[in-house]
């Protein structure tokens, strides 16, 4: 069994509102998984259940084949959560040492400091006096304090500038090279695409796609063939063509959505459908992602 995180038909209801609805997936050792979705999709709720901070209303969450609340499991995981401020009245190095003391095999102090890029002066400062970005770095150090096998990051890059983001993702790359399993949430498709081996796409509490970034992109970034609309063309006929996933009319043009534009054009000519002003469009990935999540919202 090399699945280290398993969610089995997990549902979480808050006051009759389903935040997570019948979600199932499993994550293997060494995977870097992005949980992608718009705000309110159930990403954080899922992370909280994987960490044992929330109990599922129904279904089961297992981490390393155990309940996530078990002490021996908590020794093997680390996490950076949203909206966690730092403890007051302690210096940065004191907090790092405190966290190292919680774990049986902590990461060496110097290594942790190197990971966070905090300098010597920062270490001597009171943690509550640090800037927002520095607090994040401290949070990152605390997530890694126990040298965890499995690390969770909930929206790690929100509020970070471009340089800090780059630094953060580089570090994730290093962790990955060490064989750590990493689960992070984001609402940026680009981040998920750049960093993750696998994307689990969430919307309205359910998984709508699960696959490699390439697979997800292929599904999301639809191509289309469009041409001038005319009386003679029947949209229902077009829908029956092979490789066509959707057909619609907009601004006097007909759009045929497909993943195989060449085959569709060939078919159009073969059927002798009179078309003019042909254009082929490649949808932008970000737009497609937005459209997908918005469309589901309408349903």
């Amino acid at each position: 069994m090399d699945s280290i995180v398993v969610l089995d038909h997990v549902t979480k209801t808050f006051k009759n509102k389903k935040a997570v609805d019948q979600v199932s997936f499993s994550i293997k050792k060494g995977e870097v998984v992005a949980i992608l979705g718009p705000n309110g999709a159930g990403k954080t709720t899922s992370i909280m259940m994987m960490l044992g901070l929330l109990d599922p209303t129904s279904g089961e969450v297992r981490v390393f084949n155990s309940h996530p609340k078990e002490k021996k499991i908590r020794e093997r995981i680390g996490a950076m959560l949203q909206e966690v401020s730092v403890i007051d009245a302690l210096k940065v190095k004191e907090i790092i040492q405190l966290f190292r003391s919680y774990y049986p095999n902590p990461m060496p102090f110097e290594e942790l400091v190197a990971f966070t890029g905090l300098n010597k002066d920062d270490l001597k400062r009171r943690a509550d006096k640090l800037s927002g970005g520095q607090k994040r770095r401290l949070g990152f150090a605390l997530a890694l304090a126990g040298d965890p096998e499995l690390v969770f990051f909930d929206e790690p890059t929100v509020g970070l500038d471009i340089t800090s983001r780059k630094l953060f993702w580089n570090t994730i790359g290093e962790l990955k090279a060490r064989g750590k399993t990493i689960i992070f949430t984001t609402h940026y498709l680009q981040e998920a695409d750049d960093v993750a081996d696998r994307i689990i796409l969430f919307n309205h509490g359910t998984i709508i796609e699960d696959g490699t970034p390439a697979e997800i992109k292929a599904k999301l970034s639809k191509q289309s063939v469009s041409f001038a609309a005319s009386e003679a063309i029947d949209i229902a006929d077009l829908k029956r063509l092979p490789h066509v996933s959707d057909v619609y009319k907009r601004n006097d043009r007909i759009y045929v959505i497909t993943d195989q534009t060449d085959a569709v054009i060939a078919a159009l000519f073969e059927k002798n459908i009179k078309i003019s002003g042909i254009q082929i469009e490649h949808g932008r990935l970000d737009e497609a992602f937005e459209q997908l999540t918005e469309n589901k919202e309408a349903i």
Binding site: L53, K71, R74, I87, Q97, L98
Partner: protein
């Protein structure tokens, strides 16, 4: 076990670095002590007894304050900042975390008792027998438990502002009507009637009896233990209700 020791140490450091603690629990009681034994000390028959009595009042006042306010407000702060939630993903158990807080507080109380006792001995040359010093110290240390439980009750409040406002009011009411600022017998009769049932009076009275060469009254023991259980039950009931609401 080293994690637990480290946690206790950190809790103690955090309290000592808290300026409110230093001001309210160390400085204020000593200043009050000077004012009420050095400045307004006319018409007192037994000066020595009064100086020892008021030293006990101020020590109890200090310890009661840090038990209710330092602990209570800190608990609320840690929850609102998401810190308590974050602690739950570490291998340190909730019980260990809580126990470390209690031990940290108790060490701090011991520290306050020693400091204020020394201040009393230096300022007024209060002389008690070694047995009286020891027993009154132990009484104040153990008697702080119901107030720690009251602190955890304050700790269940949702906002830091509410917690600090309410705990301040409770603290002052308990201190004044429990005879810590002025002796009980100069209080209006109706306050005396209520006061003798308050935990603060029973807390102070144990120490006042000890320095007079007596032992604390049975009712002091009983009421303090009763309050301890009452506050513990209430705060664990509220906590459980809050957890169920998530």
């Amino acid at each position: 076990m080293s994690a637990f020791r480290m946690q206790c140490k950190v809790e103690i450091i955090r309290i000592l670095r808290n300026p409110y603690f230093v001001f309210w629990s160390l400085l204020m009681p000593i200043v009050f002590y000077i004012i009420f034994t050095k400045v307004f000390n006319t018409n007192i028959q037994d000066k020595q007894e009064w100086q020892a009595h008021y030293l006990m009042s101020m020590t109890a006042f200090s310890v009661m304050g840090s038990a209710i306010m330092t602990l209570g407000i800190r608990l609320v702060e840690e929850r609102t900042k998401g810190w308590s939630l974050f602690m739950r993903i570490t291998p340190l158990s909730d019980h260990a975390y809580f126990a470390a807080k209690m031990i940290g507080q108790t060490v701090i109380h011991l520290f306050s008792i020693v400091i204020i006792f020394i201040a009393g001995a230096l300022i007024n040359g209060v002389t008690l027998t070694a047995f009286e010093w020891l027993m009154s110290g132990i009484w104040i240390l153990l008697g702080s438990l119901p107030f720690l439980a009251l602190g955890t009750l304050v700790g269940t409040m949702k906002r830091v502002d509410t917690a600090s406002g309410i705990s301040n009011v409770i603290y002052m009411i308990l201190a004044i009507s429990g005879g810590m600022w002025m002796p009980m017998d100069v209080m209006p009769a109706f306050i005396q009637k209520i006061g003798i049932w308050l935990p603060s009076y029973n807390f102070g009275n144990g120490a006042w009896e000890i320095i007079r060469g007596n032992t604390p009254e049975w009712i002091n023991f009983l009421l303090l233990i009763g309050y301890l259980f009452l506050f513990m039950l209430l705060s664990s009931y509220i906590r459980r209700k809050q957890e169920a609401a998530v």
